[in-house]
Amino acid sequence: MEPTHNIRRLMDLYRTMSRIRAFETAALNAHKEGVVPGPLHVSIGQEGVAAGVCLNLTTEDRITSNHRGHGHALAKGAGVQGMMRELFGREGGHCRGKGGSMHIADFSVGMLGANGVVSGGIPIAVGAAQGLKMLRSSAIAVCFFGDGAINRGPFLEGLNWAALYNLPVLFICEDNGVSAFTATDTVTAGPGVIARAASLGVPGVTVDGNDALAVDEAAGRLVAEVRGGKGPRLLHAKTFRITGHTSTDAAAWRDPADVAAAKARDPIDRLGLLLADRGVATADLDALRLAVFEEMEAAVNDAKAAPWPDEAIAYEDVQDVGAVRFSGVSA
């Protein structure tokens, strides 16, 4: 393996993962406090996948995400203040308070949105790749979905389509082993996502998703192939969702041994150990984690202080022609 991982790159991975962890921890705490409404799907334990993949992308590249999309958005460069305000449903949120956690999006950095429907982003990513190819863009589309999505029709349709038209799209199966509350292997026949993709003409590789370096290296190779016109590729990243399905799921149903094992394989701690091994001072890593904690704490305070959106905003962004106008009187 080439020594592509200089300290700076490792620190980039470490910083991105730490920011995702800090953002989601702050959001979860705010949710417990009762100031973040609605369901929150966090990706604590899965940060290595978002960080490792997105480090290989440009701002022009587009990503689609699933309902667990905070990490993908942050790794793609989405603004933290706009994200946190969106989670709080406040003015200045990326989606003007109309999407929330489940529909987090920042088109200005190529993040085409999280999606409340499992596999919903697959056809969209495939079409984005088709459009980019038609427009002779060098950008590619990257599609994040979970292991639950491989049992939906759009997975089959989308991979077939991407291979058929030789589209510049990279599929990322972020395999945390659970489809909501059910172990995916108990509801999935056959040999799994790589075999399914191969049967549709989409080559794929499996990596340890809790090893950010492995994700980065594999994604780097696959992104280069996709960008080079070789057609779609799939990255199967095996990881573990340490927390529950949603913010209100205490995950008491999980086997404590599995959770303990996952915590021992925590992607951030693992990379921290490696960095220490390569001579980075522990104090520097602590300082970084403190800095991102403070960044997210500031974002929470900003969101708490931000005003609620004006009622009229509910009537905007529906359609240009045939839009219903706000009467000025609350319904």
Partner: protein
């Protein structure tokens, strides 16, 4: 401007052709479109525009719809061909949860500029899964435009506007009227959404309709005229937005309203028209407000059974006379 007489299917072919020549980001995708489409509505597009802009797809409705959306998000303007309306059921997530929602739930960041073409209605004894008229479902759906033309000129002008629209447009081709002929201009100008066409003027009764049943309505209006009943006949052309002003102004003059729809009458768009007119004008100014549509049963196969379900000129005449009291 020169006019020429063409069939409706040729009119919409010319409209799409004109727009694809005008704008290189417009393209069409769907089953068999490279072969000209099921009805010939894309005949000869492939040699002119090539396989990248005239994309025959797998029978994968979810991805036809969803990929169209994705391609729109990066700046192209796809025409998404559903072949037969009823197949949109296989793409309802992509249409209802994605296309109709994406601009709103992302706070205006996304512009899903797509045209979804869905040839609908009773056609050649095609039975329950190839004959439906469910346009009213989509009027209920915020975020989309609903277009239901009945003449070659209207279909062409509305399709041009649909392709140029930044809003997602659901374009219901009246497939049974594809062979119908009419004049179309050599340069097709866009027809705005929400403006009805007055098909016939009369002072006694207002008949409101749209899409494939319009010829039957006009035939019935001629029969009524011979019987001394003069009907204002309004072709709505688009159901969202729809021309409430024109309909209310007409009923304000005639005092009587009949809405004719090929679709099942129960909870159909006719109910919306009747309710809006009554709310706007008040019951005192409306002497009659009636709906005529299909019974709440699927479309049967056998010709006499299908005929029994259809709204016919004779049924329209009878309903109009009942409305006259």
């Amino acid at each position: 401007m020169s006019m020429h007489q063409v069939t409706l299917v040729e009119a919409v072919r010319l409209a799409a052709l004109q727009e694809m020549r005008r704008d290189p980001t417009v393209w069409v995708m769907g089953e068999d479109v490279a072969r000209g489409g099921l009805y010939g509505q894309y005949r000869d597009f492939l040699p002119e525009f090539g396989a990248e802009r005239v994309v025959s797809t797998p029978i994968s409705e979810s991805t036809i719809m969803g990929a169209g959306l994705g391609a729109a998000l990066v700046g192209t303007r796809p025409i998404i061909e559903m072949r037969i309306f009823d197949f949109v059921m296989c793409a309802m997530d992509e249409l209802v949860n994605q296309i109709a929602k994406i601009r709103y739930m992302f706070g205006g960041q996304a512009r899903p500029s797509v045209v979804v073409r869905m040839p609908h209605g009773i056609w050649r004894n095609s039975a329950a899964q190839h004959s439906q008229m469910l346009e009213s479902w989509f009027v209920h759906l915020p975020g989309v435009i609903v277009v239901t033309p009945s003449t070659p000129a209207d279909a062409a002008g509305l399709l041009v506007n649909a392709i140029r629209s930044d809003d997602p447009v659901l374009f219901f081709d009246p497939k049974n009227l594809f062979p119908a002929t009419g004049d179309v201009a050599s340069v097709i100008e866009p027809i705005p959404f929400g403006k009805a066409r007055l098909a016939r003027e009369g002072r006694d009764l207002t008949i409101v309709s749209w899409s494939a049943i319009m010829p039957a309505v006009e035939q019935a209006a001629a029969t009524l005229a011979a019987d001394g009943i003069a009907a204002d006949v309004i072709d709505l052309r688009t159901l969202w937005p729809w021309d409430q002003e024109a309909v209310c102004a007409s009923v304000a003059r005639t005092g009587r309203l009949l809405v004719v729809q090929e679709a099942v009458s129960v909870a159909g768009f006719g109910a919306e028209v009747v309710a809006t007119v009554l709310e706007t004008l008040g019951p005192a100014r409306v002497k009659a407000a009636r709906r005529l549509g299909a019974p709440r049963i699927p479309i049967p196969f056998s010709p006499p059974l299908e005929d029994a379900v259809k709204v016919t000129p004779a049924k329209i005449v009878a309903a109009a006379k009942a409305a006259m009291g």
